[in-house]
Amino acid sequence: MTGVLPVTLGDATKVVQALLYSGKEYACVMKLHADVSDACVRRVLEEFEDLVYQRPPLRASVKHQLRTRRIYYLDFLEMDGRNVLFRVGCEGGTYIRKLCYDVGEVLGCGAHMQELRRTRAGPFIEDDSVTLHDVAYWFGEWEGSNDETFLRRFVQPMENALALVPKIYIRDSAVDAICYGARLTAPGVLRIESGLVKGSMVAILTLKGEAVALGRTVMDVEEIMTIEHGVVATTERVLMSRGTYLRCWKSGEKRND
């Protein structure tokens, strides 16, 4: 299997959570075990769009339990003899091998996954991916010259991994408390993306665009926009080091003096 694999470096590894559940896209070659008309194949592929039921393979380090996964789209691209090329956009954790097997079952003749290439992982796409050779080469160029532009040839800021996560931008004064796991309250909110409902995962960022934490909203965006006080989101994963921004909060002890 080849394709887009986001590799998080150092402290950026904390954003991995946002990527694991984000969508993926693959180009896949499925081999049918008998000759089938392409109209038939197209029809069956269409049936697999939306919800599918899968049990992860025993060898995956995941509970071997039936679970649902969403197929966002399944596009038949071309067919050559018994080889079917299709593109599929799906939720993270969808087993394409099982999808091919199931398509084969519905067709009646059986099928298996011949080849798979990931063309998207969350916001990362093939077009700006780099090879291991590129990494070694540009890293060497950077070490030799200390020219920052070489680093930027193959490394992106970790915030790019959060591109598909709805965002909340906060005041400087609210930042440090969040780095200690504090919940985000209404006065700290400056900007917020539309469409957020209660329970949505959010990326909490500074006005400079730095990731502070991953959190979860406790109310819909409309309410967050109107209220003056109260908690609007809980902090689930702190991404910024404490002390990066000024401490503008007092510990419980001091407050009770």
Binding site: T8, G10, A60, A161, S194, L207
Partner: protein
């Protein structure tokens, strides 16, 4: 029934609740991070070759870049 929208197809607007400035005294915009700081907070969009596992490939990146830790976003296994 309209099909489910993929996360990268969702269009969002940025709503402004309040205005404020950010100080230049602390923090740093992601693109402006320097050298080691940029690297330690970076992600590589890697085109994985066939053969080695996702874990092995991530380990190679770690070795090439001389880092203490790496992670990867989603196993690409055969």
């Amino acid at each position: 029934m309209p099909r489910t929208v993929a996360p990268w197809e969702v269009k969002r607007e940025l709503l402004v609740k309040a205005e404020d400035k950010t100080s230049s005294k602390y923090g740093c915009s992601p693109e402006a991070r320097q050298a080691d700081d940029y690297l330690q907070h970076g992600v590589v969009n890697l085109d994985k070759p066939s053969g080695p596992s996702s874990h092995e490939v991530a380990a190679w990146v770690k070795r090439i870049l001389k880092l203490q830790a790496v992670g990867h976003g989603g196993t690409l296994e055969a």
